[in-house]
């Protein structure tokens, strides 16, 4: 299996080393335990924002460390949650005295490891709040699942909570904004081809040349159902419809439409999906007032895309528009 890597065991470390060198103006890398923190360290008096999760989703999360977004990011092994002994020092490094919000994608592993770290941080006297991102409508939030997964909607949570922290909101305020984003953001994804985890040496799942996986997560898990390959318009409808239905979007509402690439699909195709998703929203009487198209929450070189919709109001829109300066998101 060909990859631009050295020893697969060093994949994450090598990549982070390059990342930190390329963006030394924005971030600093702690090599052991591994975490990434903004170049200047914690901002005194500002609520610190920390996120993290398995590697393989780049630019998430390290690519969002910087002004107006995260203060620290904690990357685990590929597709594997980081450990508490990485998360704890990242929380400490992000604490500017106003407390820290950890933004956790809802996966058992992420939840458990962050839980332990937060417990330890609180013991050390840091005020810590946590939010769980669970935007993936492919998974029902029921007794029969680990709950909905956190996927691309995480970008919106990190961006908007980051802007709120930048504006000087206190920990309760930043947490409330993050919760409001979580309550109003939904996603659904599709895979045309599986990613290949460096140390595994083969695709994470096997898809025939006329099949696609609908309702995939971002860890190479198979999706909810395997269906015959279809054209972009049809596939986009499979993604957008459950998202818009779950949000119960009403005519006249306005949204952020985010088409996210899974890593191995050309940007040009993401814009095809975007065009169709936008038309479908407009047919529902919904206005797309903000847009994001690109590879932000990836699954290595998985081919596919996800559609994320965030219901906007004046405050969320203003926070989305607020300046941000990170490796992967900047305006």
């Amino acid at each position: 299996m060909k990859k631009l890597l050295n020893d697969p065991a060093d994949a994450v470390a090598d990549s982070l080393a390059g990342f930190a060198l390329a963006h030394a103006d924005l971030v600093r890398l702690s090599p052991a335990p591994v975490f990434v923190v903004r170049a200047g360290g914690a901002v005194t008096g500002k609520v610190g924002l920390v996120s993290g999760g398995g590697s393989g989703h780049e630019p998430l999360h390290a690519g969002f460390v910087g002004d107006g977004m995260l203060d620290a990011a904690v990357p685990g092994a590929v597709f594997t949650s980081p450990t508490p002994d990485q998360i704890l020092p990242a929380v400490q490094a992000a604490d500017g005295g106003a407390g820290v919000l950890t933004i956790v994608k809802n996966y058992t592993g992420d939840v458990l490891n962050f839980e332990s770290a937060v417990e330890l941080a609180v013991e050390e006297g840091i005020e810590v709040a946590s939010v769980l991102v669970n935007d993936d409508v492919a998974v029902e939030d029921s007794l029969y699942t680990a709950g909905r997964r956190g996927v691309a909607g995480t970008v919106a949570v990190e961006k908007i909570a980051g802007a709120a922290a930048d504006r000087g909101a206190d920990l309760a305020g930043v947490t409330a904004v993050a919760e409001r984003v979580i309550a109003n953001v939904r996603s659904m994804g599709v895979a045309l081809a599986a990613p290949r985890v460096p140390h595994v040496g083969r695709p994470s799942f096997d898809l025939a040349d006329d099949e696609i996986e609908v309702g995939i997560g971002i860890h190479g898990e198979p999706g909810r159902r395997r269906v015959p390959a279809a054209d972009a318009d049809a596939v986009t409808e499979m993604l957008l419809t459950p998202v818009a239905d779950d949000l119960a979007l009403a005519r006249g509402e306005r949204v952020l439409l985010f088409v996210n690439g899974m890593g191995g699909t050309p940007l040009s195709e993401l814009y095809v999906v975007y065009g169709r998703a936008r038309r479908l929203l407009e047919e529902r009487g919904v206005t797309v007032s903000r847009s994001l198209v690109g590879n932000y929450v990836t699954s290595l070189e998985m081919q596919g895309a996800s559609v994320t919709v965030l219901r906007l109001d004046d405050e969320l829109e203003a926070l989305w528009d607020a300046p941000v300066n990170t490796a992967a998101l900047r305006w």
Partner: protein, 227 residues
């Protein structure tokens, strides 16, 4: 013959070997209904455990006799800080709780049962899972029931562990038809049926190693015994 800290160390080293041997199989199980990293995760963790045991073996013997709990605590903290994922905190908690009830140089059959009960309680409470959700809880639970029965029948340490290991193995296989309702496999819904749960399988390996370690004495591969 009660089980001592050397047994615990042999247990852990044998577990590391068993996991290393089964790494690809565990990963493949996880590839089917999870994210294909369970073998890699545990192998990374147990290799780190062995490295720390080697470090400890190279150091001068600490004052006071080593307890079973000392070894299990080292396993717990090492797994927690090196495995990540769901299984890191779950196994970490299992060993941590087990260590808490085994802070003695030797453990007898009822104490072995208590160790397993503590581990089960750790996994179940941490993962908020109960039996039948197609997780490692299924294997731990079956092991505890079998161990309790064997101890109740007056079995030896080896009897207790043999019963536990056999039950865990059977329980792991019995996860195949189940639909997962916890962990990553639950995302698949009905599609999770027909595949064995990787964590239940690794639990069976862990308990198989415990029995094998009890059956065998110190081995030449064990630096402590060589010292």
């Amino acid at each position: 013959m009660a089980l001592d800290a050397d047994w615990a160390e042999r247990w852990v080293r044998r577990t590391a070997d068993a996991i290393a041997d089964a790494k690809d199989e565990l990963t493949e199980l996880d590839r089917q209904i999870g994210d294909g990293d369970h073998g890699e995760n545990l192998d990374r963790g147990f290799k780190a455990v062995v490295a720390r045991l080697d470090d400890a073996a190279a150091e001068p013997e600490p004052a006071g006799e080593r307890t079973v709990g000392d070894v299990l605590k080292l396993v717990a903290t090492t797994l927690m800080s090196t495995v990540g994922g769901a299984s890191g905190p779950l196994y970490g908690t299992a060993y941590l709780r087990a260590a808490k009830v085994s802070g003695r140089p030797q453990i007898d059959p009822p104490a072995v049962v208590a160790v397993l009960e503590a581990a089960l309680e750790g996994v179940a409470s941490r993962g908020k899972a109960t039996v039948g959700e197609k997780t490692m809880v299924d294997a731990w639970h079956a092991a505890v029931e079998a161990a309790e029965a064997a101890a109740g029948d007056g079995g030896s340490e080896v009897d207790v562990l043999r019963a536990a290991a056999a039950a865990a193995d059977t329980a792991a296989t019995a996860t195949i038809p189940l639909v997962a309702t916890k962990g990553r496999a639950s995302y698949l819904g009905e599609r999770s049926a027909g595949h064995e749960d990787p964590g239940a399988r690794s639990t069976a390996l862990v308990l198989g190693a415990a029995m094998a370690a009890a059956l065998s004495g110190p081995t030449p591969a064990d630096p402590r015994s060589a010292a």
